[in-house]
């Protein structure tokens, strides 16, 4: 029998089948399901390697630490009792000493439960990895359009005449989604790529704007300057559907292409051409990702880009819109279900007394109206001893957090750390209790892709050992803490379907997305879907925006540099990137021989001139140093990066180098630009340094 699942990797949310055969399991392409995001069942290398998640070193039994990194096996009963007791004790003292992490790598149902658990314990200290990737998108788009999600679908990208890809190596991070860009290009669409690196996405560009990391606002303002000066904006749209145009006009007036060239390094004539091409297009979309968001002014970056979209009227119509690309398959769902410190499920503010009263009544508990901590803030608070316990579901902050050495220090300082995961991660080594969870293929539930498409994934395999589904673990802990009320007032769940029905009842966007409908319709349903007979909403803002007055709020933002700029001691700018065959902190892809042998190790990309200046040789070892740490890596001399810029994939642990300065609004760290220096080292010295970092638990 072929079981339809959703790929456990990126936000495209590809469908595939897992089939049981006499000799084990095999993967089959879902080329017979109409309307899925990966048409004809296509898969990238990670998707092709999903069965390697069944590798031998999965967590099989609950573990309890005797000392750091030394565990003994315990029973589920014992593990749950201990977690429940410790959480209850600390909460009794002060619930703000607890921190919970949801996960963009698990289904909607457990994410709903973990935020419910945090909130019923009396704290809004709940967050997940979207903080480190798209929190600035969520906040920035909300400010301009009223909601933080992608406004259109992949189909709209295919239909566009101009596609602007900003700070996003689309071809490498979302290969199956990039299909739609290529199809548009075949039809004659123009592609504009904005990136500090000449990526494989840039191979497909008609215009390539190679800016310095952290200068996105200046560029966006420069483009808007040209559009406004030449009167290329959509007058009718600006007048009817936006506010704040006159202020914007004043702000961008001083961003002449010549001045912007000085700041960004992008030639003035290219800025002019990009502006005219984008504004004149009948239909145009902008997609973006970490290159735009991971910045101390990520919030402003996103607002500037959203404003550019709004003044050209490229939104609310087919073939147009704003398309932030999510990195993990359920980032959107985790955000939707309130795994954020400021909102309940459905983006209902915790500070809104009316919404709070609804959930107090619904869950039968007194809830906090104080906005909770974000991940980086929690790390800083834990360092100070003000946060005492973390409950981490499927996250690996030891590698993923900016300035990871500091993150490890904070994790070590905790009184109690629970890690619920499928593999023994670098973070799990520091845990007091480790709870073995099931992978996405061994469990079922709903999840929400980049396009707001909610799909059901079915159980295809049996979990190893005593591993249990995330929803089961969280509900057992909830019950053990004492939340045994009936219905929504407790944690007595028998199935993920039951949890989704509770989500339907309290999350307006998901009201009509019932388990029955999802199971029947494998292509899924786009939220908002306000009732069971509603078909879903692929395209947002056709009539009005979700802001209180229904208009787009144009943002006038000024350029300021990254948190750290090059100087005498640290003369280069370091930026981070990804490889197509790897995923985040390598916990999953690092265990696949198929992927590991093709993407074996990280490389430092360095421009030939800088290589000569700092005596680096192609393929030889170098050490990169920042004010936070040192990291040895082989050099790759290439013109893909600009002079003065170096780049490293972050999968293996380059976050020992990155800056944990955060954006004041979205609290996203500045991992895409910091000052660094490089020097050649011998292989022996490099290996020694790597061993030290591995010992510290900050590299994979």
């Amino acid at each position: 029998m072929k079981v339809p699942v959703v790929c456990p990797y990126c936000g495209v949310g590809c469908r595939l089948y897992i089939e049981r055969t006499p000799s084990g399991y095999r993967l089959e392409y879902a080329d017979d399901i109409p309307g899925i995001p990966n048409e004809n069942g296509r898969l990238c290398p990670k998707g092709n390697a999903v069965l390697d998640l069944l590798s031998k070193d999965r967590l099989r039994k609950p573990l309890k630490a005797k000392e750091e990194g030394k565990f003994v096996e315990v029973s589920w009963g014992e593990a749950i009792k201990e977690v429940a007791e410790r959480l209850r004790e600390i909460a009794k003292d002060d619930p703000r000493q607890l921190m919970f992490f949801g996960s963009a790598k698990t289904f909607n149902e457990p994410n709903y439960l973990i935020q419910k658990l945090a909130r019923m314990l009396g704290t809004n200290n709940i967050d997940h990895c979207a903080r480190l990737c798209h929190s600035s998108t969520v906040a920035g788009l909300k400010a301009v359009f009223g909601a933080g999600a992608m406004t259109n679908t992949y189909r709209d990208i295919e239909m566009a005449d101009v596609i602007m890809i900003w700070g996003h190596n689309y071809a490498e991070t979302h290969p199956v989604g990039f299909r739609y860009v290529i199809k548009a290009k075949e039809r004659g669409a123009k592609v504009i790529v904005v990136d500090p690196r000449f990526t494989r996405t840039a191979w497909f560009s008609d215009l390539f704007l190679q800016l310095y990391p952290g200068t996105d606002i200046a560029l966006a303002n420069g483009i808007m300057h040209v559009i406004i000066k030449h009167g290329l904006y959509d007058r009718e749209f600006v007048e009817k559907r936006t506010v704040g145009f006159s202020e914007l006009k004043r702000t961008v007036e001083k961003y002449t292409p010549e001045r912007v060239e000085e700041i960004t390094g992008v030639p003035a004539e290219l800025i002019e051409e990009a502006a005219v091409t984008f504004a004149r297009a009948e239909n145009a979309v902008i997609t973006w990702a970490m290159g735009l968001t991971q910045s101390v002014h990520g919030y402003d970056n996103v607002r500037a880009v959203a404003t550019l979209i709004a003044i050209t009227g490229h939104i609310g119509r087919p073939g147009n819109g704003a398309s932030p690309m999510r990195g993990q398959n359920n980032v959107q769902g985790a955000c939707d279900l309130g795994v954020l410190p400021n909102v309940f499920p459905g983006y209902q503010a915790v500070t809104d007394p009316e919404k709070r009263r609804f959930f107090e009544e619904f869950w039968g508990a007194e809830l906090s109206g104080e906005v909770g901590l974000t991940t980086i803030e929690a790390t800083h608070e834990a360092e100070k001893g003000r946060v005492k316990a973390y409950y981490i579901m499927g996250e690996n902050p030891a590698i993923s957090e900016a300035n990871s050495k500091r993150a490890i220090r904070a994790l070590r300082k905790l009184e109690f750390l629970v890690v619920q995961d499928i593999f023994p991660t670098e973070t799990a080594r520091l845990a007091d209790i480790v709870l073995p969870a099931t992978s996405m293929l061994e469990n079922e539930g709903s999840l929400t892709n980049t396009e707001r498409r909610v799909q059901w994934s079915f159980k295809a395999l049996n979990p190893p050992g005593e591993a249990r589904p995330d929803w089961w673990i969280v509900s057992e802990i909830g019950k053990a803490i004492g939340f045994t009320g009936s219905g929504a007032r407790g944690f007595n769940y028998r199935s993920p379907e039951e949890i989704l029905r509770e989500i339907n009842a309290c999350t307006p966007q998901y009201r009509g997305i019932t388990p029955e409908r999802l199971k029947e319709n494998l292509a899924g349903i786009h939220w908002p879907c306000p009732s069971e007979d509603h078909p879903g909403t692929p395209l947002l803002y056709t009539e009005r925006f979700l802001t209180p007055d229904g208009k787009a709020h144009l943002a006038s933002v000024e350029h300021s540099g990254p948190a750290e700029i090059p100087d005498k001691d640290y003369p280069l700018i370091l930026t981070t990137m990804r490889y197509v065959g790897h995923f985040h902190t390598l916990t999953m892809t690092g265990r696949s021989e198929l992927l590991r042998k093709r993407w074996r190790e990280p490389f430092l990309e360095v421009h030939p001139d800088d290589a000569e200046r700092f005596k680096l040789k192609d393929g030889e070892w170098a050490v990169v140093e920042t004010r936070r740490g040192r990291y040895p890596v082989r050099a790759k001399v290439t013109k893909a990066v600009k002079r003065g810029v170096v780049a490293i994939p972050w999968h293996w642990g380059a976050n020992v180098l990155t800056n944990d300065a955060i954006d004041p609004v979205s609290k996203i760290p500045d991992t895409k630009a910091c000052a660094c220096r490089v020097r050649p080292v011998s292989e022996a010295e490099a290996r020694k340094l790597l061993d030290e970092l591995r010992e510290m638990g900050v590299v994979a």
Partner: protein, 156 residues
């Protein structure tokens, strides 16, 4: 006959084809070469007049019903003649016999596409008659040309 046709203009060097092929065959019979500004995937062309077949001294190379060039492992003596004859450098000697792309015969029997083609995210690999391929390319080019004319046409 249909064959795997490669459009390097659409390849993003993701190597999904390699991973899929290796998963199925234990090693990959397609190789993606990456350059600074483009990538080229390459596998057996199953040539109409295949030099490997002509060079094989034992008759180990043969064609199946779809025209795919296959190796009869019982007849192959690992002499390397096919390796020398192939202009694309495709055949490899693994252990003592030659191995190469077989166009996924089991999948073809079920009416499915070869794995590398099925998985390719961007459509850089297609499985079709070369005449279909050239016709669709011709048509796409013509459409682009027509579109440009339509854009500049007044009164439309």
């Amino acid at each position: 006959m249909s064959g795997i046709l490669i459009d390097p203009g659409k390849c993003i060097a993701c190597r999904a084809c390699e991973v899929a092929c290796e998963r199925e065959h234990g090693r990959s019979f397609i190789t993606v070469f990456e350059f600074e500004t483009s990538a080229v995937p390459l596998n057996c062309r199953h040539c109409e007049r295949a030099p490997c077949v002509e060079a094989c001294p034992t008759g180990a190379l043969f064609r199946d019903g779809d025209g795919a060039v296959l190796v009869d492992v019982k007849k192959c003596i690992g002499c390397n003649m096919c390796v020398l004859a192939c202009p694309f450098g495709i055949p490899e000697i693994a252990g003592k016999i030659m191995v190469k792309c077989d166009l996924c015969p089991d999948r073809r029997a079920e009416g499915k596409l070869p794995l590398c083609v099925q998985t390719c995210p961007t459509g850089a690999l297609t499985y079709e008659e070369p005449s279909e391929f050239s016709m669709s390319r011709r048509k796409a080019y013509a459409e682009r040309l027509a579109l440009r004319r339509a854009e500049n046409a007044p009164g439309l």
